[in-house]
């Protein structure tokens, strides 16, 4: 009876954002987008219909002193002979329940805020479609009981992220930034997938329960040796670093602020930016198996926190400054995870996400209030410098300023040492291929060279 109740409540939690995604997705695909009010109501309904069951589950878990509630939906795919199972399993435990509630609450708040914020905007429907992708992705990732299910949600979050950064798509800058974030996400996802496959090979399945041994989170002991823990953990650390903008991938975080404020708040202030940390928390028993891995995690966290702190102080706009402030906190959270302080990290995530959402949603009106305040007092507000800044030599201060302003040169390094050589190599190959086909044809072989830059604006060209 109780188990059945858990099952149906669990299904309701996962189904509500999925149904929202299906409705918004299908209506858009059919070219019949819903009206603003219907979209807003559906979104609110999905949040409420998901939040209430998860609260009920939390209440029941507390009432019955249950620490682990698996919701088995059976095999999505099963190839018995190959021992291959893609199990749809969701887990309600001391990690997933708070994170899921946080996701529902913040998504609900941001959904309600956006209803007014984007009222009569052309891209209203597009925003809510991406929001639905994100919402479903977050809930699925938070509750995932297997690494494949987590990957499923993880990908949904990544796609919606890139599209929302490029929301103002008539301007090139947001689009370029969206593309950049997507590129980093894809490479991080590749690391995640390889980690998932390695885990499959090691444990014969992707179930976190099997991998983390007996005992609910955070008491499990990983069933793999230190060497494999280091390999899998390092790959997962790369995936987490990509998703949470940790060093060396921090460069995308300020770029992500090009999106509309509500998406910046829910993605890069609160939920998405913590998803990497959440992943590390979920697989934290693996970290216990390898000291080297723990040191790596701590090092990445410390570097990210320092970078974030330095950069946030020299930014010239409020959203970017908040983005780097988020990075600082996420870095500290990662350090906490590396040190094994799991509950502290979880509480830190919840507190930080809530605060940052509020700050980012407040950001558009903050400047106006600031100016009003200055007008009221008839003078500039005083800017206090910390007393210890005078102790630092001017040259070092200048260097630090430039370092922070240039965002730690991380983007430049990635561009110069990875992206450019990569593109140069393939452009060279393209030239070689051209030479080869031209030589065989004994004439220029590419009609595509004559493609007009903007045929769509030439009246005679439109078919």
């Amino acid at each position: 009876m109780i188990d059945n109740l858990f099952l149906w409540l669990g299904i309701a939690v996962v189904a509500s954002p999925s149904v929202l995604l299906a409705v918004l997705g299908l209506t858009t695909l059919l070219g019949r987008p819903l009206s603003e009010s219907v979209t807003a109501r559906l979104t609110s309904a999905a949040v409420v219909m998901g939040l209430l069951p998860v609260l009920a589950i939390l209440g029941m878990m507390l009432a019955f002193d249950t620490k682990y509630v698996p919701i088995e939906l059976g095999d999505w795919i099963a190839l018995e002979q190959e021992h291959y199972h893609f199990n749809l399993k969701f887990v309600f435990d001391r990690l997933s329940v708070p994170f899921t509630i946080l996701s529902f609450v913040l998504c609900g708040v941001v959904g309600a805020f956006t209803r007014q914020y984007l009222h009569l905007e052309v891209g209203y429907n597009r925003f809510f479609l991406c929001y639905a992708f994100f919402f479903a992705g977050m809930v699925i990732s938070s509750l995932a009981g297997t690494i494949e299910t987590l990957f499923f949600g993880w990908e949904l979050v990544g796609l919606s992220s890139a599209l929302l950064i490029a929301y103002f798509h008539e301007r090139e800058n947001p689009v370029r930034n969206g593309a950049r974030v997507w590129s980093i996400y894809r490479l991080a996802d590749a690391a995640f997938l390889i980690a998932a496959l390695t885990m499959h090979k090691l444990t014969g399945g992707g179930d976190f329960g099997e991998l983390m041994g007996s005992g609910p989170w955070p008491e499990g002991i990983a069933a793999i040796d230190p060497y494999h823990a280091l390999v899998v953990g390092s790959l997962l650390l790369v995936a987490a670093a990509g998703k949470s903008a940790l060093v060396p991938f921090s460069g995308w975080l300020p770029r992500a602020m090009e999106g509309p404020t509500p998406s910046s708040a829910v993605f890069y202030g609160s939920l998405s930016v913590h998803l990497g940390a959440y992943l590390l928390l979920r697989v934290s028993p693996i970290l216990d198996q390898s000291w080297t891995l723990r040191l790596l995690v701590i090092a990445v966290g410390v570097a990210s926190a320092l970078f974030g702190a330095m950069m946030s102080r020299v930014q010239t706009d409020v959203k970017t400054s908040l983005a780097y402030a988020s990075l600082t906190q996420v870095g500290i959270i990662v350090v906490e995870i590396g040190c094994g302080l799991r509950y502290l990290a979880l509480i830190h995530i919840i507190g930080h996400a809530s605060l940052r959402t509020m700050q980012l949603l407040r950001a558009p009106t903050l400047l106006k209030d600031y100016h009003n305040l200055e007008n009221a007092i008839g003078a500039r507000l005083s800017r206090n410098h910390a007393p210890w800044t005078n102790l630092i030599p001017a040259s070092l201060r200048q260097w630090c300023y430039r370092f922070g302003y240039e965002r730690g040169f991380l983007d430049t390094l990635l561009d110069n040492w990875i992206v450019s050589p990569f593109l140069m190599a393939f452009r060279w190959s393209d030239r070689m291929e051209r030479g080869w086909t031209d030589w065989i044809s004994q004439q220029p072989s590419r009609e595509s060279d004559q493609a007009d830059l903007h045929p769509e604006s030439e009246p005679g060209r439109i078919a």
Binding site: L423, S445, S448, A451
Partner: protein, 480 residues
Amino acid sequence: MSELHFPWMELAIVLPLLVALPIGWLSNRELARSLAFAACTMSFVFAVGEWVDFASLGKFEAHDHWDVIAYVFHADVFVIDELSAPLLPLGGLIYLVMILATARTKVGRFSFSWTLFSESVLLATLSCRASWVLIGLLIVGVIPPWIEMRKRGCCTRVYVLHMGVYAALLLGGYLWLNVFERPGEIPMVAATLLTAAALLRSGVVPMHCWMTDLFEKTTFGTAILFVTPLTGAYAAMRLVLPIAPSWGLQSMAMLSLITAVYASGMALVQRESRRFFCYLFLSNASLVLIGLELVTPLGLTGALCVWLSVGLSLTGFGITLRSIESRIGRVSLVDYHGLYDQMPMLAGFFLLTGMASIGFPATIGFVGMELLVEGVVDVYPMTGTAVVLAAAFNGIAIMLVYFRIFTGKRHVSPASLRIRPAEKIAVLILSVLILGGGLVPQPGVSSRHHAALELSKQRHRELSAEANEELDFHTDEEVE
């Protein structure tokens, strides 16, 4: 051999051929288009009928009821088995949606007659097992694009050179297999020649330049129809898989792996949409080849799943690009075109099909890609991860091109660029299959897994038979 309840295959093959002849002379292009559409629809219906009928039999292979060709030639030429059963409807569907989505402004340029002929040849090819008929059909299949290039006054040297070598390798390899190979020996020379032919037809690096040349010089529709059914992979399955030694297949897999990564990298630097599509396709097709050549049940299952998903998703992707091209001409990827507001549905479909091709969750490609990657990593733990990298590059390339075409400053066009009803139907048919296959993957995966097991067994049977014959042969020699 089991028998279907109706001559599905023969009807699916003959009908387009019969209609192709008269519409070649029709001056009314709209009528030609309608007839071609009707023929494709009927052919598709017969192909689906064949699949359903075959599935109901529960056998590994079967031939048509009232098999006229078998009656005349006393040989089972057209035989359906678990490998080809879903490929026929897939081939029929690809042709059907392509004709459906052909814009009225392009009916004068797109040859419906040769398209139907190609469809007929393709369906016949997919119904054939290793035989001289298959060799003949594989060679005949390369002629229609060549004729189109000639008609358009384009230089055909690159295509002729590659396809000439392909035909020579096919003929030479199969001749060698039948004439010179000693019984019981692993046919090394024939296997090498046939392997080279299959790799060339699949566009494996460095023998891929004919494919980019094809996309440059034929109509986009013809090029898509020529490559998306993965005829090269089919040739590899029929001609190479049963006879090639394991190390040979694994070498092919490595070449395909290199191609997958190389093509995905090349897709990132292209400056025009057709060439981009070509490399994207090449990368995905190579992923299929990798799985096929591993010959492990998991890898083979993954490859067969990805075969179907690539066929559907990249056909849809190609149709989207072709629809855009039919409105504005060749699409440069150097600058942003800002077309989203003018064609939102095509933008959505571009993303859906593009994401399906890289195995995005909830699309038909997801499970296939997972199985494929797992199969490859099983055999090549380190280098196998390159498959993941290739998929990542493809994902980046698709999003970059999406941004180039649909975002940026809006260039207002004088005419409506919105999707037309016929295109919408084509797009929705593919969307339903892509999402349906992604959300309910078990039936498709089980069917492909069963086919993979049967194909593996068949290969082991044939190789062990050869080994036994070789043993008998040597024993006889020693006795003498």
